[in-house]
Amino acid sequence: MSNSSTLATDAGIFERLLAGLTLPPGSAAPSQPDWLKTLRSQALEHVSGLTLPSTHDEAWRFTPLAKFSSPSFQPLRAPSPLQADDIAHLTLPEATTRLVFVDGLYAPQLSSASLQAGLVLGNLAGLTSAQASTLEAHLGQHASFQDTLFTAVNTAFLQDAAVLVVPRDSALAAPVHVLFISTQPGVASHPRLLLVAGAASQLTVIEDYVALHAGSYFTNAVAEVVLQANAQVTQVRLQRESTQAFHMASCAVSLGTASRYQSVSISLGAQISRLDLSARHTAEGAQCTLNGLALISGEQLADTHSFIDHAKPHGTSRQLHKCIVGGTAQAVFNGQVMVRPGAQQTDSAQSSRNLLLSKQAQVNTQPQLEIFADDVKCTHGATVGQLDSDEMFYLQSRGLSEGVARNLLTYAFGAEIINHIPVASLRQQLEQTVLEQTTGQP
């Protein structure tokens, strides 16, 4: 494809994205506070100044968006009337609070919100103006839209959002399940999640993207996660979109003093998926653990870009990212770790491990360490390989067929990440998915 035709196609998708800025009928235009309107118009200004990234942009080198440019995505025309039975298979028994968005629209009949004093587990449009006003300091303040087209578009579109505000010193015993469901092909949706964990609070959240059809659609998701001092948050991010979908996402985490953040990001679906995950240590002594697994096959592409920003001293970060790639699929991992001047006693370890299941499968992995402090401990490493022939032989020598041996080893490779998920029913579901998805790989 020549450059000129790439540009022409880019302009097309871009106009279509902007055309989608109108509100879907059936969703009464919420009366948004002035600060939110201002935020959205600022984002819209940036949208018009930005272009769709191309492989000439360093951050998109291995992720061409040509396929994304061809289909036409529309805003939702008519909401799907889903009932509880339709999503029964997606619910998690451990999660007593569930927020469900269908094709981008909040579905109160499927959700169980909790809007008590202090604690907010609900949707932005459903909040009182007093509750909403507390969000001004956070919404749009962590996920930068200044130079990121998809985040800018998400922010410009911002009609509603999943909102979790946990007051200080409170611990939620049960995980909160935030479910973004696609039911209609051709639709573009712009899911948004804001989580504010008050000082010394504790919470587990499951951010779950799933489809009830196998068609093509576009999910453009942004999450912002704020941990105030000593807060502890575990976030499971599950991308199990249709394999025809396009999933562009960013998640910006802000870590306060001595806070602890753990995430497990699983990418299974979408023909092209991209996750930009940033964790900023904004105060001393914070800890973050980022675990990731991309399990893809066929012609899928899964790209994870992470950025761990040690801006303050005594921070700890741990990252293990794994990719299992079959068919002609491609995985991309770029893991940037920045230790800023003065961030002494930073302790960071990053590992990228990749398993290629076929000769045509590809992975591009790039750890990127930038250290501007002298008293730090930082390690990183990357491996790319196929299944070990000694391991295969060991299992076969016990009577297991080559196929079963291959599946078992592949499963074991992925299970190391899945085992970090603190929700048993979800862990079992995913273990089953990995077993099924690794069956029949060439």
Binding site: S397, L400, L408, A412, E416
Partner: protein, 261 residues
């Protein structure tokens, strides 16, 4: 035990095998009958472990000549898993660790696969649990090892016990133990040897690949073979192992070279 007129289990004739173009086995002959215990000894690099792996079907090795008959059938044309199901078992010198796969799950999968091949009933997890705990007593293994991942974080001795546990479950006709004694302390050696002796019977055969005479105090061989440069150059009774312990391998290699010249 040697038994009169016992049927031949394994017949190896002129076996040659290479890895990465380097020939390791250079015309190896060996006959094993049911009920027998054989020990294969020899200096480092003589091809002992290679021989065991080639019989089990390791794909890194290319067989370039000779034949292997197991129960009268050509073993070399079978994939490793089919050899295992036919009754060939290799206890590994370095058993691999498989984090993420439960030992119990793995053992049951292997057991049921082999049972199905033999037309016997497969066991559900509860039934299998009873069976495996029974077998673990024999090896003085804690049931706790069932909950862990395959060999993950096991000590050297625990890994070897786990190998013999697999042998006990799969009940092979031909068990090859590749340096099972290496890295074992005296207690572990005793337990593992007792386990192997318990499993030996008139229908199966055991081939011990070992460096040291020590193991043969516990598992007494009917035949001791000396390997050198990819062939068996001397076969004797258990007293040969004692002689090797005392005199080393040089004299026997020199004699063999002299006989050839």
């Amino acid at each position: 035990m040697m038994i009169q007129n016992s049927p031949t289990l394994l017949e190896v004739r002129g076996l040659r095998a290479s890895i990465n173009g380097i020939e390791i086995l250079k015309g190896l002959d060996l006959t094993v009958k049911r009920g027998e215990v054989h020990a294969i000894m020899g200096p480092n690099g003589s091809g002992k472990s290679t021989f065991a792996k080639v019989l089990a079907g390791h794909t890194a090795y290319q067989v370039t000549g000779g034949e292997v008959l197991f129960k009268g059938k050509n073993l070399l044309e079978l994939a490793p898993e089919l050899r295992a199901r036919a009754g060939v078992f290799l206890a590994f010198q370095y058993p691999i660790e498989i984090p993420g796969v439960g030992n119990s799950q793995f053992l049951r999968l292997a057991y049921n696969t082999v049972q199905a091949e033999r037309g016997k009933d497969e066991l559900d997890p509860l039934e299998f649990d009873d069976l495996v705990r029974e077998k673990m007593k024999l090896l003085e293994m804690s049931p706790e090892f069932l909950q862990r991942s395959v060999n993950e974080g096991f000590s050297g001795g625990e890994k070897k016990r786990n190998e013999i546990l697999q042998m006990a479950l799969l009940e092979p006709s031909l068990a090859m133990l590749d340096e099972t004694d290496s890295g074992l302390d005296i207690d572990a050696l005793r337990v593992v040897s007792q386990g192997v002796n318990h499993l030996a019977n008139k229908d199966n055969a055991i081939v011990l690949v070992t460096h040291y005479q020590r193991l043969l105090n516990y598992i007494v061989p009917d035949y001791v073979h000396v390997m050198s440069a990819g062939r068996i150059i001397r076969t004797g009774g258990k007293e040969l192992a004692l002689e090797l312990e005392e005199r080393g391998y040089d004299w026997i290699e020199a004699e063999a070279a002299g006989a050839l010249a």
